[in-house]
Amino acid sequence: MSNENDKHWLVREKTVRLLWRVSLVLLSLLVIADFFINAHPYFKIDGTFGFYAWFGLVVCVGMVLLAKALGVFLKRKDTYYDNE
């Protein structure tokens, strides 16, 4: 399985690199699109440039970190309840 060519084409390093590039281009295009649409914000801040993009990114990073922090206290081995 170590040989690149034995792998499924989708998981070869070359494809993965390409996928990253395409995604980054797509993400930037989406932000640029904000110039061309006439936003009709419900409140104020959600009409600012690229609001949804940074909001999604920040919120998700925040949630992963929060989960990680809670996990320190709440995670147990998955055999925890086994002797019931």
Binding site: L27, F43, L57, M63, A67, L70
Partner: protein, 563 residues
């Protein structure tokens, strides 16, 4: 038509009783046919109340039909049909029969026009769903089903107390919108909320559902929580407390799903998350919000079932359920992966999927009502849904590392069921007007504006970007996360055990002391008697007794002669 006032749910319940009798060959005709008959009956019902029976001083109304009950009953029967197709390979008749009673009673709840018949179906639902879990037949499933049952019996008891108090209060049994201003309505709300997996007793869901069979979990995901959403929608629209409970559930679901390793438990937490959206909408309570909740319940049932079908297929083919054991399955299970991804995109409300046209109605309602904090939280939650269910589930099951597993796609019946539901997800996303026309209030909402689509794509894709940026932090571990069920699985038992040990020790001490006193008393008495040496307390030798008996007998003989 004569059949027009036959309660549609009873078709499934009575049909379930036939399932064990009928041979395996003809069983599919029944399991696929009955949901369709039910669907037909639902749609041939005109609006209004029918099928009433007197019970003592009260009237049971088995059918109260309007657009809201029709919508929920429709999706319940579509679910039963699709699930039955998926479960054709299920060998356990007990599970199938339990599922049909379960689905039938859920439809019964939806059509119930009065609180008494609602309670009856509510409790049948609790018993039948317990049987679905129990039918797995392992020791583990037995323990889990008992925990599940206790929680639901507790919820049912709260509901019963509430209903009795409400009837005594108002004299009416009609199930209609209630105000949260009396003992009865508060208890009714609590009973409803337990089935909606609201805190603090929400752990029953993630505890029980992942332990059901590959097909059982598909059915379980649909009925209990959504029947609860239905009764809350009808009983407590605009109850503000539901907004807070809903928001809590949304983030609880996301955080716990992010920490979870079991693929079906990830999906179970995400049910709580999605029900949280619905509760928030019910709490907002405007026509737009309630429409959104009804639409979201409909689409949610379909895509959540699809996700669990996809996970169930993986479980069925590999016997594995932990993300740490899975990965790379897209290579040999392309169809399962494809359908799983459709479900994942739908739950994340991607444009052109069913979630997009339903969930955005709820956040729109928050915006219309100028609920700024709620709106931001809902947006954050939409991003979080993509994070925990939209990417995490397909990524860790179908991609991630190569686990070396190469199972093929599941049998045709399971593939067909997945394709059917994937088709519904896409179809609802492209043609929302059909669903919108079934909603309780007229819809004046256009989901597909350029702005909305671009904004949603930005939000979702940047969440996805965050996922891959944070991937090292998301590495799966062989862990579970403690939940409120820790209190009744660990804390209370250990307190009980310790306290019963203490009680036992004290009891032993008391009894020993009592025995000692009793002993002392007896010794005292016997000594006293010894001292008296009275006529009766002396020891006589047996020989002397025999001698005296002989003397008495001789005297008797003598007397009998002289007469």
């Amino acid at each position: 038509m004569i059949m027009s006032d036959f309660p549609p749910g009873l078709v499934l319940i009575f049909g379930a009783l036939l399932l064990p009798i009928i041979g395996q060959k003809f069983r599919p005709i029944l399991t696929l046919g009955l949901p369709l008959i039910t669907l037909y009956l639902i749609w041939s019902l005109p609006d209004g109340s029918f099928s009433t029976f007197p019970l003592f001083d009260y009237q049971l109304v088995f059918i109260h039909s309007d657009s809201l009950s029709r919508l929920f009953a429709t999706v319940f029967s579509i679910m039963t049909f699709g699930g039955s197709l998926y479960a054709l390979k299920q060998k356990s008749v007990l599970e199938l029969a339990a599922v049909f009673v379960y689905a039938g009673s859920a439809i019964g709840v939806v059509f119930a026009g009065d609180l008494i018949s609602l309670f009856i179906f509510w409790e049948i639902m609790a018993v039948a769903s317990t049987l679905v879990i129990l039918s797995v037949g392992s020791n583990r499933s037995f323990q889990i089903s008992m925990r599940y049952f206790l929680v639901h019996v507790f919820g049912g008891t709260l509901l019963l107390v509430g209903i009795i108090a409400y009837i005594l209060d108002t004299g009416s049994t009609t199930f209609t919108a209630m105000e949260l201003n009396s003992f009865g309505t508060i208890f009714i709300l609590m009973g409803f909320l337990i089935n909606a997996a609201a805190p603090p007793l929400s752990a029953w869901l993630s505890d029980a559902y992942p332990e059901a069979s590959f097909s059982g979990a598909v059915f379980l995901s649909a009925f209990t929580t959504k029947a609860a959403v239905y009764v809350l929608l009808r009983g407590f629209p605009g109850a503000e407390i539901l907004v807070f409970i809903g928001i809590f559930m949304i983030f609880y679901g996301i955080i716990y799903a992010l920490l979870e390793n079991d693929m079906r438990r990830i999906l179970a937490y995400s049910i709580v998350n999605q029900v949280g959206f619905m509760l928030t909408g019910i709490g907002i309570g405007t026509e737009m919000a309630l429409n959104g909740v009804a639409a979201h319940a409909f689409t949610h049932i379909i895509y959540k079932a699809l996700l669990l079908m996809s996970a169930g297929s993986v479980l069925y083919m590999t016997g594995k359920r932990k993300c740490t054991d899975l990965g790379g399955l897209f290579q040999s299970m392309p169809l399962t992966a494809f359908c799983g991804i459709i479900g994942a995109l739908s739950i994340s409300s991607f444009p052109l999927t069913s979630g997009f046209i339903s969930k955005s109605m709820i956040s729109q309602a928050a915006a219309d009502d100028s609920l700024i904090a709620i709106w931001f939280l809902l947006m954050a939650a939409s991003a979080g849904v993509f994070l925990h269910a939209g990417i995490k589930f397909p990524w860790f099951v179908f991609f991630q590392k190569d686990s070396g597993l190469r199972p093929p796609d599941p049998p045709w019946s399971m593939r067909l069921a997945m394709l059917l539901f994937a088709g519904i997800c896409i179809g609802l996303g492209i043609w929302p007007e059909y669903l919108y026309s079934m909603l309780p209030y007229p819809v004046a909402y256009e989901p597909y504006t350029v702005t909305h689509v671009i904004h949603m794509l930005q939000l979702l894709l940047f969440s996805g970007f965050a996922f891959f940026l944070m991937l090292p932090l998301m590495k799966r571990t062989l862990t579970i996360t403690l939940d409120a069920d820790w209190f009744y699985r660990r804390l209370f038992p250990s307190i009980l055990k310790n306290s019963s040990a203490t009680v036992w020790r004290i009891d032993k001490m008391i009894r020993l002391a009592f025995l000692e006193k009793l002993n002392g008393g007896l010794i005292f008495l016997s000594k006293k008697n010894n001292r008296m040496s009275g006529l009766l307390s002396q020891n006589y030798p047996i020989g002397s007794m025999v001698l005296w008996v002989a003397v008495i007998l001789a005297a008797y003989l003598f007397l009998s002669f002289i007469r």
